[in-house]
Amino acid sequence: MKRFGIFAVIIVLISVFLGLGIKSLNQASGQGNADKTLTIFNWGDYIDPQLITKFEHETGYQVKYETFDSNEAMFTKIQQGGTAYDIAIPSDYMIEKMRKAHLLVPLSKQKIVGLSNIEPEFLDQSFDQHNQYSVPYFWGTLGIIYNDRYVKASEMQHWRDLWQPKWRNSIMLVDSARDIMGLALVKDGASMNSTNQVQLQKAATDLDQLAPNVKAVVADEIKMYMSDNEAPLAVTWSGEAAEMLANNSHLHYVVPSEGSNLWFDNIVIPRTVKHKKAAYAFINFMLQPKNAAQNAEYIGYATPNRLAKRLLPKAIREDKQFYPDQQTVRNLQVYQDLGPTWVQRYNDLFLEFKMHK
């Protein structure tokens, strides 16, 4: 009992010590001053930390950076409104959903400098017409990654190629209903936002036929597996692909020319905003070509900022894997928010596919 008491006292002392430490650190960095802060809610590791420091120096705001790992988790947190997020960076369909749920604050255009730096074809998208609520941050695609030790480039150019019996037990799919159902739809020329029962059923049946070729349906681990040559083929997003390609020189990324998904992560101001001025300062800061280019080089995703793109090294700028040609870009489709009933339908069919042996 005595020893237990000593143990308890030590724990309490350590806690108090750490608490005081955090407090003094916060004061040193000025976080105690609530008026000059900016709270950013973003995906993990999705901004060059040096840019945050630069922003703080230039504007005098203190940045609080919080992260989420799925659009849905972010949605729930902003809906509950517990934390005063000033900036959030959701994906396309989620922006539409948040707008419908009245979770977004409309942007006043006269406060934004540099929206014209953005490539016009990435503005005015279906999920946010006239960019009333959002400013593009990064964009990307869905595609196939292959390992040139096992797969020849000519064998893997289209979604249909995944169905070849040769690839039995070889493919890793990303665990996302919209993307996998989407590729099954688009391979027959259907819309990736299809709400046509016949098309959806056909896509689901085709996916069931793909099942013997599927090795696993996983998430973030795809990066690790592909880098370690665990599987010759994978279907995932360009951003993930960039990271894998950096780790393993045998990997290549293809966006099938018949069509694929075009996704956006855009900056929005959520309803929970407390520091509007700081939020606009951040949007303008990220729109500056130099900063956008630095961020794109650090993250490895494609920047929608055409002036920033010019500042990137030639090897990145002309990489067809991540900046596909006009022809392919024209066939890319952006996901729309289909409403809960259809989202459920997509997920039910996908779940059925996952259970198919």
Partner: protein
Amino acid sequence: MTRTSRLSYFSLYLLWILFFVITPVALIVYQSFFNLNHQFTLQNYRDYLSSSVYLRMTLNSFIFAFLITLLTLLISYPAAYYLTRLKHRQLWILLIILPTWINLLLKAYAFIGIFSQAGSVNHFLTFIGIGPQQILFTNMSFVLVAAYIQIPFMILPIYNSLVDIDPAIINASHDLGANNVQTLWRVIIPMSANGVRSGVQSVFIPSLSLFMITRLIGGNRVITLGTAIEEHFLTTMNWGMGSTIGVVLIIIMFITMMLTASRRKGGVKR
């Protein structure tokens, strides 16, 4: 201790149960009666019972939970039995508890490293001339990893019930002419049945709704009810259907508890 102070302790316990057991369960049951448009309906239950996907998933969960429990029991009972005869028992028990201090996710990732194509098991198989095999994303690897994670929760209750057996009873059994096998079968196993029951409960019930390992080790080639609940709450945000499956799990849990509850009449009496 006075009566009032005992009452206040008891009310503290009651409050705990009320807020952290009864309220959440009530909320889940309540949620399960609402569809996507927040209308009161029985549709979720009708969907569940008429969907071959969900019924197959339930069956899958059952089979896997059963296999995991069986495997852990087969490993744990002899292990617990030998533990009781060892010299430095406390140390050995500590070594069995130790892995439970490590985060589940870390353990799963460690197994990915062991089972992958470039992992140590495949290195060994290549070395002895069998050649690399697909180990990850198979039913076998899923059951193995799940059993590994659950083993401490099976060993401890069995060990505790075995330690409680008075050695004099075993001596008496031998004196009365029973051989080792008979002693084990007629005396030791019946007297440790309570430990086995609580071990089975604490392994079988969580195994029904495992979800992280189904993806990391099973590569989503193993789908259990846990996967469906995760999807309904995190992806489709269909909390009603997610809660319905939750209610089904709670019901199964109660049935399991009832079936494995210790029977009072006859049998073991002390």
